[in-house]
């Protein structure tokens, strides 16, 4: 399929570039690991209740994604390669390739963040399947929304503040559902079925909206 080949080309190019520069990975990983370690030392032996642990986990994931995922389009602008990409690529292929890159990057970060979170803060989980579903679906929505907003703000001044400022209102439903689902799983007071449905619906809405809007954003 030619379209899929274009998507994979963007994905492979971004990974090759990321492996050689560590542009996004270092920023996101440094933030996540530092925050986790500092907080775990700060609370010491007191411990944090399950409610707060769930919120803390998603705050770390959110800020790590803000530090890393926004770079996909900002980097193209700063290195002046955006024009070459616009001249040669289909907008839908660019969005899908960059979304895929951000999703894999975020899941890769979580492979490090989540085990470290469990080692340092030791929460109990009532259902690992539910926890995995909340984390993966939350990541799909987070990567989708951040990729779209990164494309909008890439050519603006004050990109960092704009990415955060524009993202938070859009991400509130996702964060509320992900935190609530994780809280239930940490407290063991029922499943996270309803939150999983909300997260799946959010991911579908974000991906559909991005598919419809991205060509307009790209060409403007």
């Amino acid at each position: 399929m030619p379209w899929l080949e274009g998507v994979l080309a963007v994905f492979v190019k971004d990974w090759r570039s990321e492996f050689r520069t560590r542009y996004a990975l270092n920023a996101a990983l440094l933030f996540a690991v530092t925050t986790l370690v500092v907080v775990s030392f700060a609370i010491g032996a007191f411990g944090i209740p399950g409610d707060l642990l769930a919120a803390f986990l998603w705050v770390v994931i959110l800020f790590a994604s803000m530090a890393g995922l926004g770079q996909v389009f900002i980097k193209e602008v700063e290195s002046r390669t955006l024009t070459a990409l616009r001249l040669s690529s289909k907008p839908s292929g660019v969005w899908a390739g960059k979304f895929l890159f951000n999703l894999v990057l975020l899941l890769g970060l979580e492979v490090i963040i989540v085990p470290l979170f469990f080692i340092l803060l030791n929460p109990r989980v009532s259902s690992w399947g539910g926890f995995l579903a909340v984390t993966i679906l939350g990541s799909v929505g987070l990567a989708g929304a951040t990729t779209l907003i990164a494309a909008i703000i890439a050519q603006a001044k004050g990109k960092g503040a704009l990415l955060a400022g524009l993202s938070y209102p859009i991400l509130i439903p996702l964060l509320a559902a992900a935190t609530s689902g994780t809280r239930h799983l940490f407290r063991g007071d029922g499943g996270a079925g309803q939150e999983i449905q909300i997260l799946a619906a959010y991911a579908v809405v974000v991906i559909t909206a991005a598919s419809l809007l991205f060509e307009f954003i790209w060409n403007e």
């Binding site: 994979l8 080309a9 090759r16 290195s79 024009t83 070459a84 690529s89 292929g93």
Partner: protein, 211 residues
């Protein structure tokens, strides 16, 4: 589909006007560049040469007027026009963290071209970079980067080639490569060159001087 050499190509600009805020860059530009011909755009810094080429490529929408690309009697939509254009400008850069070969492979894939490694090496040979294909572009001199940009612009045999200061940073060998590309382009399509370099004024039969 007709081969590139048999296609009929015409690039038309009608009453193009461009403003950035209160500043008028140019007004009511009308011209036509048919296959086999070249248009040379000249003018002082800030006269709008690069802006005009960006409008012709489809990267920028004019304040007024329109650009039409006609290929075999069919008008190409502005969104599709990007795929029929080869464009180099000092504002454009290629991926410095990739090698020259990786850059060409990537652009061939997103352009959906069927190209082999031998094809990419042939293209690199044409711009004098065959021996440097496996080097990172970040390690290239400005002249070598300009040569690679030329390869990027002609990789898909575009119907229209837009060259903004094509000879900048190039040595005499590089300028001879540009001359060859200009000549080949006119054999199968249209050409627009923006320059103030006297050596490049002969690239086109028509001249357009922006004030």
């Amino acid at each position: 589909m007709a081969s590139p050499n048999q296609r009929e190509v015409t690039l038309c600009a009608q009453a193009l006007t461009q403003r950035f805020g209160p500043n008028k860059i140019f007004e009511s530009l009308t011209f036509e560049v048919p296959k086999g011909k070249g248009l040379v755009v000249t003018g002082p810094n800030g006269s709008g040469k690069t802006t005009l080429l960006r409008i012709l490529s489809g990267l920028l929408r004019p304040t007024k007027g329109e650009v039409r690309l006609n290929v075999d009697g069919k008008i190409i939509s502005p969104e599709e026009r990007l795929r029929h254009i080869g464009f180099i400008t000092p504002e454009l850069a290629l991926y410095e963290e990739l090698t020259a070969l990786e850059n060409l492979e990537f652009f061939a894939r997103v352009r959906r071209l069927k190209r082999t490694k031998a094809d990419h090496l042939t293209l690199l040979e044409r711009v004098g970079l065959k021996e440097r294909g496996r080097d990172l572009v970040g390690a290239f001199s400005s002249g070598m980067k300009q040569r690679l940009k030329l390869a990027f612009a002609i990789q898909h045999q575009p119907e229209v080639l837009l060259l903004d200061e094509p000879g900048s940073s190039l040595d005499e060998d590089g300028r001879a490569i540009v001359k060859g590309i200009v000549s080949d382009q006119k054999a199968h399509g249209a050409l627009v060159v923006a320059t103030n370099d006297e050596r490049e004024l002969a690239c086109g039969e028509e001249k357009l001087a922006l004030a």
